[in-house]
């Protein structure tokens, strides 16, 4: 009989057995409706043909491929948090490992589904195994994604075993906990009794898996990038793609993790578990990944810009000022906002709020001014400001003004964000998740529409593709909802273990550091 801490019993175990409220059913119904819409559209596509999508020659891959790369990228959240942080012994990871591992598994399932949706002949899926050719990057991908999926399923399940045993032993009586759920926990707990040998084995298995899964995760997104980089298509044939995709994957994974853990914290009221410490530390990682991502993006585009090759340069030009410019600059702006929202409030001194510039009111005013400037800038026929200014000069002035307004708004909102680290993290995470989807789009589509010996094409996703994207997101959400209705959102035993370590540490007496004044005196040889 395993005992649970009364705090965990109240916050993590009992809510699992509470009858689901109307909000839960409403959410499930809404998600099911979107999934049903997607299923209908897929059936239509299956019967009529892939012509129902917006894809054409030469844009042979579209939103499905973008979604595939995006979801597999998101799946890197789990590896980063549970494996890397576990190996390095970062204590603060404990309350968020479960959410991270769940993201990994579900994102991988939804991501793999995108490939099946994208296939012209899904009925021949097994040919990949029966007639697989190891020379093809798609087969590398099949191997690495399958390994990663099995690995992450194991990795989700292993730390769940002690929790399942706790649930088995602490579930309420029959009317509240139905018999099938008791059986479910009892079977899945695999006879866990929590004795010494079992703990030793589990710890060993988890550490082996943690080390094993890191190279697998790196290989997964590297190989996805190699699907593109091993072709000779303009803009894809680049050696930076492997690391660039891995960094982007971890980056978007942290973004998804921020959103998921905030949702869990809010809905289940887990403020005591997922505290500001988690947000602060994960935020630091987020800032670092943002910087690395920006560096790689710059490096990738610089080599194309400097080379000016006849086939490659039109791809870059279409992103910088052509038809893909809105998406490209929106991506950069979103990443910039994510960076600002996390970095500037940290740099701001606590007393900054006394300066009148640092007020939400000021931020609103400057943001409004920025919106008006932007509206004037993008309007097709801008009215001349003054006869003295040429059109080009007034445009330049407007861009400068826009930048000034945006910086003003950013400064004004900073103290507000500093007081709300959770909100700031969620804003940054939302920006990054959307920005990373756009990044995948900006890599896949411009290259395909600018093929070498085919007229430049236009790619517009159709309703089928939009429906299937929405349904994929809904499926991802539904899996989350059901999983956390059945299993604890926070790893009970890992948090309990953390408490023990914390308590043991608090007993150790660390000598208080000398004050600076004493140090200063001592430098002159004076002891006080």
């Amino acid at each position: 009989m395993l005992k649970a801490d009364p705090r965990d019993q109240a916050k993590l175990i009992d809510p699992l057995f509470a009858a689901p409220g109307p909000r839960f059913w409403l959410a499930v119904l809404a998600l099911l409706a979107v999934i049903g819409w997607g299923a209908f559209m897929y059936l239509r596509q299956l019967l009529l043909g892939l012509g129902e999508t917006g894809m054409d020659r030469p844009t042979y891959w579209g939103v499905y491929m973008v979604n595939f790369i995006f979801f597999i990228g998101i799946s890197h959240a789990g590896t980063l948090i549970s494996a890397i942080l576990r190996v390095t012994g970062a204590e603060w990871r404990r309350p968020i490992t479960r959410v991270a591992e769940a993201i990994t598994t579900f994102a991988l399932l939804v991501g793999t589904l995108q490939i099946i949706i994208d296939m012209g002949r899904p009925d021949r899926l097994l040919f990949v195994i029966l007639h697989g050719r190891l020379q093809s990057p798609i087969l590398w991908d099949v191997v690495s994604v399958t390994t990663y999926l099995l690995g992450s399923l194991t990795y989700l399940y292993l730390p769940l075993i002690p929790d399942l045993a706790i649930l088995r032993d602490n579930a309420p009586d029959a009317p509240r906990a139905p018999a099938w759920r008791r059986t479910l926990y009892a079977v899945l707990a695999l006879g866990w009794r929590g004795n010494r040998a079992q703990w030793a084995r589990l710890e060993r298995a988890i550490s082996v898996m943690a080390v094993f899964i890191i190279p697998v995760a790196v290989s997964v997104h590297t190989i996805i990038s190699w699907i593109l980089a091993t072709t000779v298509q303009p803009g894809w044939h680049s050696s930076i793609f492997g690391p660039y995709f891995v960094v982007g994957a971890i980056f978007s994974g942290i973004g998804a993790l921020f959103i998921a853990m905030t949702a869990v914290r809010k809905v289940l009221g887990l403020d005591q578990y997922i505290a500001e410490r988690q947000y602060r530390n994960l935020g630091l990682l987020f800032i670092a990944m943002n910087a690395i991502w920006a560096y790689f993006t710059y490096a990738e585009h610089l080599s194309i810009a400097a080379g000016q090759q006849t086939e490659e340069f039109p791809v870059l030009a279409s992103k910088l000022w052509g038809e893909f410019a809105p998406g490209f600059w929106a991506m950069l702006a979103l990443m910039g906002v994510a960076f600002w929202v996390l970095v500037v409030p940290k740099l701001l001194p606590a007393a900054a709020g006394r300066v009148p510039v640092f007020r939400p009111r000021f931020a609103l005013a400057t943001a409004g001014a920025a919106a008006i400037t932007l509206f004037v800038l993008v309007s097709p026929q801008p009215t001349p400001v003054s006869a003295a200014l040429t059109d080009a000069n007034s445009r330049m002035l407007a861009w400068v003004l826009l930048m000034v307004f945006l910086v003003g708004a950013g400064l004004g909102i900073s103290p507000w964000l500093k007081a709300r680290p959770v909100t700031a993290s969620v804003i940054a995470a939302g920006c990054v998740v959307v920005g990373m989807w756009l990044e995948r789009w900006n890599i896949i589509v411009p290259t395909l529409t600018h093929a070498r010996l085919i007229p430049y094409a236009v790619y517009r996703p159709t309703l089928t593709e939009i429906a299937l994207t929405a349904a994929s997101l809904a499926l991802f959400g539904l899996m989350f909802l059901i999983f956390f209705k059945l299993f604890p959102a926070v790893s009970i035993w890992e948090v309990a273990e953390g408490r023990v370590i914390e308590a043991a540490r608090s007993k150790v007496v660390i000598p208080a550091p000398e004050s600076t004044e004493i140090k200063r005196w001592r430098r002159w040889g004076i002891r006080k």
């Binding site: 894809m55 020659r57 012209g120 000779v232």
Partner: protein, 241 residues
């Protein structure tokens, strides 16, 4: 044998006869105009202007010179499409022809993305023929490795491409065998070569140093498309002028 095609651009009149001959020889369906506008037309043998995408440097009407190229599959010696196919649905046979197995293709479209020439086509919908055309399809049914290939009507969701009329090759071989004599390389040409109005197309065996294609390949006018991507095409063009 190493089958190869030489296209003399000086003789090509841009009549698109090769494109039409190919369509009827290989049962490629004509798609609806709305589909063709989306770029979904299937032309195993395409006639297109060069440069494909005009820039400021190529000039504006009337100060512009447009050249036309005709483009079958290049049947590369180092085909990028074969390298990326996950199920060996496309492969290079021992005579250098890049073949397509419709019964194997899973429709992932990696080959269409990898081919720098854009000569591989995907069946977005099931093929349809207007009116009586459906009754006049090429009835040649040939098998390679136990499955139908060449002009056999393709199902939706698979990739197809120019085969250098591989069914004609098989028929010519069978005839030589039936007549009890060795098969000669000049007994077979693809439909586009046979129909070419300006007699601009030549076909033959590149391994034979005295064949027409071998001699023409040595011409100073000879060039290949996108030589810089390292695919080593076996379709050789002779420059104009």
């Amino acid at each position: 044998m190493r089958w190869s095609m030489v296209i003399d651009l000086d003789k090509c009149v841009g009549c698109q006869g090769c494109s039409i001959a190919c369509r009827f020889e290989n049962n490629t369906p004509a798609v609806k105009p709305s589909e063709a506008l989306k770029g979904r037309a299937v032309r195993w043998n395409d006639v297109f202007p060069l440069p494909v995408n005009p820039t400021e440097e190529t000039g504006d009407y009337p100060n512009v010179k447009t050249r036309y190229l005709t483009r079958p599959c290049m049947h590369c010696d180092n085909p990028p499409c074969v390298k990326v196919c996950p199920v060996q649905a496309t492969f290079k046979n021992e005579e250098g022809l890049v073949q397509q197995n419709y019964a194997r293709c899973i429709g992932c479209r990696f080959c269409t993305v990898a081919c720098p020439y854009g000569v591989r086509y995907f069946n977005w919908y099931a093929p349809e023929w207007e009116g009586d055309l459906a009754g006049y399809l090429n009835p040649d049914r040939i098998e390679g490795g136990g499955v139908l290939e060449g002009p056999a009507v393709r199902p939706k969701g698979v990739v197809e491409k120019c085969t250098f009329c591989i069914h004609r090759l098989q028929k010519a071989r069978a005839r030589a065998q039936a007549e009890g004599r060795p098969f000669r390389a000049d007994e077979y040409v693809p439909a586009c070569v046979q129909t070419c109005t300006g007699k601009a197309r030549f076909f033959g065996d590149l391994d034979d140093p005295n064949s027409t294609v071998s001699l023409l390949a040595k011409s100073p006018r000879a060039f290949r498309l996108l030589e810089e991507v390292g695919t080593h095409p076996k379709v050789i063009y002779l420059r104009e002028g």
